[in-house]
Amino acid sequence: MKPAADLDPLFRPLLPKYLAARESECATLHLALQQHDFEQITDIGHRLAGSGSSYGFPAISAHGRALEVAGRARDGDTAGAVIGELEALVRAALAHL
């Protein structure tokens, strides 16, 4: 997955740091899901929704919003599926750097 073509050139050097942080955040999300910590899932989802598109990854924002909704609904199945997809997205983005 490549970042949006219109991403500001000033933001491009920040991508490795951003994606690496998201990768470790996926591990945090898996753990939160195991512990049924839906508050943390909601918070992380909210932050991803705000930051993904800013870094040229609208798909990360969309998954963030989905996580936020699933977290609020305490819907573990949906949250688990979204976390899996998010992890794959982040890895794909990292592979394109």
Partner: protein, 464 residues
């Protein structure tokens, strides 16, 4: 500018974008860190996320507006629902930016906010200058203009200030001016002179006491720290505070809470602290009379108030300011105001004007109407220079220096200055404070001149 967001990745973007625009970006991760940061420095703009872990962006916006009404706050929100934006603007936001962050929009919005804030600060500075001073302080000298510029930098923030200056230089006036120019001006200004309170009552005076705390405590008393809640507390002559009270004060300042004497629950007043002293606190620390940790706690931003003798022609300006209507100064009296060194500073000058106003028999104040101490001072005698040299010769111990000051020998001003400094140091047995007073210059100036003329600082060799 200050970026407030609990998501470091958003702060990183703001920093990358705005640093490229020559702006310095500081970051706060929550509401508490934001307020702590604003207490230490005042940015030109705040970029504030609507969702924070310890408070809401709107509540924090209200706190910022209350303390810094002219500081533009740009709200950052992922939720661009109309009611959210309207609520932010109604709460006093300067503008709002939606996420995802657009670098071009961010730069433009922040640049406009910064420009507006700098203009507002400049206008307020010019207004103060047009009014002839800062908070009613009468001054036109360069040294006071420098002080005003430093006050501008610190007045709008909540930073703790340490005022240093000789007695009578107007430390209380400066503290009041800082309070008036701050976001706390609607709150109380509470002053306590630490030198004027008996040691036994000092704790109760500062921290208050509960009923029955000690014999005679027949009712609860609210201490000065608590009285200053929402405003500014001036601890004047803080160096005179007893060491045990210094420890209590330090704890209260660090923890932002304390208990009244005899009390068992915490009180948490919110005040801005200004401390003042005529002593060199570093010397007091070195002498074990002042706690070093308290010194660092209060000396966050130091302001040096110039002595009146270092304020060019301000003495005359002040004399005319204090002179009652209907009186004017004769030419020779004006000369006295300009040449006398005013060791008691503005307070001494004000008293001299009061004295002269009573003594003057016509509508003109003459030199003879001034207190004897002033009109008979060597500095205001017609041949002051010659008399200083003669006095030096009479002292015997400073023959060489006095010879250098011989008015019949033409010498360069530098030579005369070097000789005058050597004479003053010799005459005061190396007491630099006294030497400064005698020479009519400040301590910093004296140090600079000692270095320039290669004169060894008295006692400097002892430290090795």
């Amino acid at each position: 500018m200050l970026a407030v967001d609990d998501d470091p990745s958003i702060c990183d973007l703001a920093e990358a974008c705005l640093t490229a625009d020559d702006l310095t970006v500081k970051v706060a991760k929550d509401g508490r860190a934001c307020l702590d940061s604003l207490a230490r420095f005042l940015p030109d703009c705040v970029l504030l996320d609507l969702n924070l872990p310890d408070t809401t962006g709107l509540a924090l916006l209200a706190s910022i507006n209350e303390r810094h009404p002219r500081l533009p706050v740009i709200m950052l929100t992922a939720d661009i629902a109309v009611d959210t934006v309207v609520a932010a603007m109604q709460a006093g936001a300067w503008d709002y930016l939606p996420k995802p962050l657009d670098c071009t929009k961010l730069k433009a919005t922040v640049r406009n906010a910064v420009t507006q804030h700098r203009l507002a600060m400049r206008v307020s500075q010019l207004e103060r200058e047009a009014q002839g001073g800062y908070g009613g302080i009468v001054a036109a000298s360069e040294s006071m203009k420098t002080l005003f510029r430093q006050m501008d930098r610190v007045s709008a923030s909540d930073v703790t200030v340490l005022l240093h200056g000789e007695s009578g230089t107007g430390k209380e006036l400066v503290a009041r001016a800082l309070h008036q120019a701050s976001g706390r001006s609607r709150g109380p200004f509470v002053e306590i002179n630490c030198a004027a309170i008996p040691e036994s009552l000092a704790a109760s005076e500062l921290f208050g006491h509960e009923r029955g705390a000690f014999t005679g405590a027949d009712q609860r008393r609210i201490g000065r720290l608590e009285q200053a809640n929402g405003g500014t507390l001036l601890l004047d002559e803080i160096a005179e505070l007893d060491l045990s009270l210094q420890a209590k004060l330090l704890r209260a300042l660090q923890e932002r809470r304390f208990q009244r004497v005899g009390g068992n629950h915490d009180v948490t007043p919110d005040f801005r602290l200004i401390a003042a002293t005529h002593r060199q606190l570093e010397d007091e620390v070195a002498g074990g009379r002042f706690r070093e940790d308290l010194f660092f706690r209060i000396a966050v931003f130091e302001l040096e108030l110039p002595a009146l003798r270092e304020r060019d022609d301000d003495a005359l300006l002040l004399a005319e300011h204090f002179l009652p209507d209907g009186l004017r100064l004769a030419a020779e009296a004006r000369q006295v105001f300009l040449t006398y060194p005013w060791p008691g500073n503005v307070r001494e000058l004000q008293n001299a004007i009061e004295h002269a106003s009573v003594v003057a028999t016509s509508g003109t104040v003459r030199a003879a109407d001034l207190p004897r101490r002033i009109r008979s001072h060597p500095s205001v005698q017609p041949d002051a220079h010659a008399s200083v040299a003669a006095e030096g010769e009479a002292a015997g111990t400073e023959t060489a220096a006095a010879h250098d000051l011989d008015p019949t020998t033409l010498r360069t001003l530098e030579e005369l200055e070097r000789a005058a400094i050597r004479a003053a140091i010799a005459r005061t047995d190396g007491n630099l404070s006294e030497a400064c007073r005698m020479l009519g210059i400040g301590r910093t100036t004296l140090y600079r001149k000692l270095e320039r003329y290669g004169i060894e600082r008295p006692g400097a060799g002892d430290a090795a």
